[in-house]
Symmetry: D2
Subunit: 348 residues, 4 copies
Amino acid sequence: MLKVGIIGASGYTGAELARVLSGHPKVEITVITSRKWAGRPLGDCYPGLAHIDLKFVNHVEEDVTGKADLFFTALPHKAAMEAVKSCLDAGKKVVDLSADFRLADVKTYEEHYGPHSCPELLSEAVYGLAEIYGDEIAGARLVANPGCYPTSALLPLYPLIKEGIIDAQGLIIDAKSGVTGAGRDANETTHFCHAHESIKAYKIASHRHTPEIEAQLSLAAGDGVQVVFTPHLIPMGRGMLSTIYATPAPNTTTTVTREAVESVWAKAYADSPFVNVAKGDGLPDSAHVRGTNCCIMAVRVDERNGRLIILSAIDNLAKGASTQAIQNMNIMMGWDQSEGLDLAPLYP
Amino acid sequence: MLKVGIIGASGYTGAELARVLSGHPKVEITVITSRKWAGRPLGDCYPGLAHIDLKFVNHVEEDVTGKADLFFTALPHKAAMEAVKSCLDAGKKVVDLSADFRLADVKTYEEHYGPHSCPELLSEAVYGLAEIYGDEIAGARLVANPGCYPTSALLPLYPLIKEGIIDAQGLIIDAKSGVTGAGRDANETTHFCHAHESIKAYKIASHRHTPEIEAQLSLAAGDGVQVVFTPHLIPMGRGMLSTIYATPAPNTTTTVTREAVESVWAKAYADSPFVNVAKGDGLPDSAHVRGTNCCIMAVRVDERNGRLIILSAIDNLAKGASTQAIQNMNIMMGWDQSEGLDLAPLYP
Amino acid sequence: MLKVGIIGASGYTGAELARVLSGHPKVEITVITSRKWAGRPLGDCYPGLAHIDLKFVNHVEEDVTGKADLFFTALPHKAAMEAVKSCLDAGKKVVDLSADFRLADVKTYEEHYGPHSCPELLSEAVYGLAEIYGDEIAGARLVANPGCYPTSALLPLYPLIKEGIIDAQGLIIDAKSGVTGAGRDANETTHFCHAHESIKAYKIASHRHTPEIEAQLSLAAGDGVQVVFTPHLIPMGRGMLSTIYATPAPNTTTTVTREAVESVWAKAYADSPFVNVAKGDGLPDSAHVRGTNCCIMAVRVDERNGRLIILSAIDNLAKGASTQAIQNMNIMMGWDQSEGLDLAPLYP
Amino acid sequence: MLKVGIIGASGYTGAELARVLSGHPKVEITVITSRKWAGRPLGDCYPGLAHIDLKFVNHVEEDVTGKADLFFTALPHKAAMEAVKSCLDAGKKVVDLSADFRLADVKTYEEHYGPHSCPELLSEAVYGLAEIYGDEIAGARLVANPGCYPTSALLPLYPLIKEGIIDAQGLIIDAKSGVTGAGRDANETTHFCHAHESIKAYKIASHRHTPEIEAQLSLAAGDGVQVVFTPHLIPMGRGMLSTIYATPAPNTTTTVTREAVESVWAKAYADSPFVNVAKGDGLPDSAHVRGTNCCIMAVRVDERNGRLIILSAIDNLAKGASTQAIQNMNIMMGWDQSEGLDLAPLYP
């Protein structure tokens, strides 16, 4: 059994890691940390996880790097980079769920997040979009787990741009997230009485996931890509849908068809058990991936003007965070990437 | 007191008409109809409206046109056109909430809805977007009340296109609606257990509100306009948010600023108490217009590429249907358009 | 126009007062207060109320008692008593929405809430259950507006106990409240992600509304009454249902029938437009009173053992707080108690 | 691998069986049936279960009893009894999720459900409350899986009555269920727009789970027991909370304490991994058992009058139906009762 630690286990992504890891056949959770909950059992923080018999440790006051062989760091950015460095220095593998190692370019990072204390690790970190970077992840000691919005946008877009079937420029990503995406912090936005009958956009043209999406699409395009990205908050717990507007590649002489797009996806994800294309008239619905590592995608064409409407549904806490992190661990360990992730969605 | 009738009062828009009309100081509801509920009191169908002491009449079996001076027809398309004609033939005014008279071009109508039995009325019908067509509505005997999606899209877009500040072409309208938009019909989509934790797009590039939006924007542009329109269903009762992606008009030499857009709106809606622009950092939130005739709009610019992101929130059942219909009645009757519509939103 | 002030207008009950008072034909809101929001317009705190052009004043730093003729105090207990005293000392009328003047017995108050700084006002304060104490309210300068749970429990129970038809002892009140009942404070309990799929009881056998219910039922019974009261939080915004288990009065020789109970209610509430009994097979549903001052009641008898199951639905923020406060104001001013309260529920 | 079949797999309990069985290490689902969906793949009915590669068979037209060794029958009552008999006649084991074999007394059954076509099986059927009837279940060929409400009420009550610590008479069970309890049928009650902001009681003093609860409590008491049972529908998907009001046993000389109750539970459920008592100040919350086979219980005492308030939370679809059925299968097969049921709740 691999010993794994969760640094920052009191937040939603930490809890989701604990939920799924507790059913993983090849790992044992040996340490969980939280500054706020230090000394108290996990079950005090998450009563449904009381069967995991562990107490929170304060990783800032106590060195926990000896207690496991692989760590998930589920801390806010900035706090994460210090914890990640400690684990690596102790010779451990790390899957970091923060934004701290997702951007290879330190300038871009610092523009959006402020100073980086260990920029030397940026080039080493592998971007943990498991379906795209599997080979690199396999040999990594540090994997930067993607953000939820980037995961939902990149899975459909990356291969289409790589193959040159759609225009890498002019993409519009209109994304909708459940409230878990706003985290465990209790505030006016996450208050039930406000949130339960509300839809609004936020951080328009300024969300920090934008440079992350652009960095990856630029790699796919081999050229600098800029997108328009608008996140929204909607009244549900888990779930994310990205509706993406694209145009055929400039050099395309004919309309890009649904079949052409699905064909690219089929090839790109032939070995990926978690990425599926909705069949027939079906369209991606967040309800059908709840609690799973799956992504459902679809494309439709506005026949009148050739515009492509691409849809992608994930569970923001699962494939958008914690189960993708576990998938990355599986790959880093040389295991089947599905190990412990055979999760049927909770429905209804 | 003006005697008003509601033909098709058992659906959600009929109930919303009854709710608001029952507090209107200048009208008296004198007849309500429903084939299904004929003979039963309104309170059986909507217990919260039991204070309105009326029984449903079957308007197909019984001529009700003599019972009121102005009728709201809240029937499905096709059924509506017959009822509208009867009322007009009886010399009554009509606000029709169906799609039957919204498209001036009979070919476009028939392409999307099937045969029209009284096309001669299409040219007479006034499109009831009250803030735009107030003068025409004032003299109309037949007002075609706009669809909910068109209302939310046209209020921000119409003046911007009319003024030539944004490009009339290439618009993308990504709209999100609460489940009331799907109507009172109980089916898998509207079942609580499915809908409460689900987001999905539907009728992509094929929703019937598309030609309605395009017809109006073409009038504003003085040229044929085509949009990409994607509706989504989200887990709330009432509320609609349209997120619209636009580019500056082709001949614009500089970036279009937030101030420029807001200035056009300020001028266009100077006399409109129901259209407001979110101030400062505020963004439209459906929670703040629930149960009211208001529309809140905002615009943001992606500074890097000049793309405009325009937002517009309404209550789909109110400004998107029933209260706009009452606003139209007010204008048709020569009353203050706000009569009976001083509704503060139910919040939280 | 009567000038009214809302002291503590930034909470949910304050906002609900503002919403309904802004449509009241005989009053003008002239001052609103909040320590936290002092200096900022109401629309910053509640965007949907931006049409009420007022800025918050800090009533602790500034004497506002001269700015209105009647005050609603919507402050937490303890803070309320000071504000109430100031208003009364300035010769103004007060409807207090806190718990500070609901218990005539200072010992009972202090046992549950701590020291009372103006116990001399307790005997003067009239308990504002409008349907029961209308005469006393008419002449009062201080009305103690009932709690939400007590309102929902007392409206069905008071007349039944007064008439001696049910046993005043052994009552069990199982009450369910929407999350607005937990107030505007953002915490783990009110966080959407927890609350939206959760039901739990809280403060079992220890909720402070228990002595309030018991004090009133004791008055009805002419004897000390003790109840078992269990509040629950359920995933909705507004609404409250009390399910009450009662037995026939001890001296009753026959079973108490539904008809007998409804007959007592019909007599007690003959002049009360806001208290209704569900007809036929109908049962009280919070959805049908949302945003209104109404209470819907019903009773069923378990024929096998004579146990009475009594149900009562209100909107906790409206009849359970703010609209009942306005009803009390109407009575204090000698107006029709329904003035400004002809509110049809927002449904669906 | 044991071959199992699900007869009636298109409903919610059928889907929940499929979800959990698909992760069970010792079984293989070999046949699923539905009259409505016959011929179509499971993924058409439940897209999230598309990984289970099976097509629905019409079990009325086709004999499926040869296709598995153990069957779950998840049909409406009446339809179930025929299917059960066929499976038994073919020599297969059955866990029946309907009400058809839960009542040993045919008269009681027929009074509430109508004629029974195979009453001879009633005495053989074992009531599948796994924690109570484990020994009997181990040897059974037909297990009658308990109803959701009975499960939530009997788990806390059965041992307390058996031990004589509480009065078996006068019990009041006030139960609250999520909307999945109303099944997959789309109607006005289950429509999102009604249900999402609604609480109401239903089938007061007449719900068919009442005789089921009473039959079991009578066995525990060794005497006829009558309860008052009131079910409610609340706006969530899964989850059930029963709030039970009890009094100490008549011969008890002192108050029954929380400790005394918890001591009885500790003894009764010493070997039961799925029944837990909330610790400290914790109270049962449906959110913490979602998707699991667990029951969380608690008791509080109203010190003033000795009344016991007992709480019990389950997931109505899981422990209240499908996972309990799987637990019963495990016991029938001689496996560890937890096999395949190590499910952490989906939270948040």
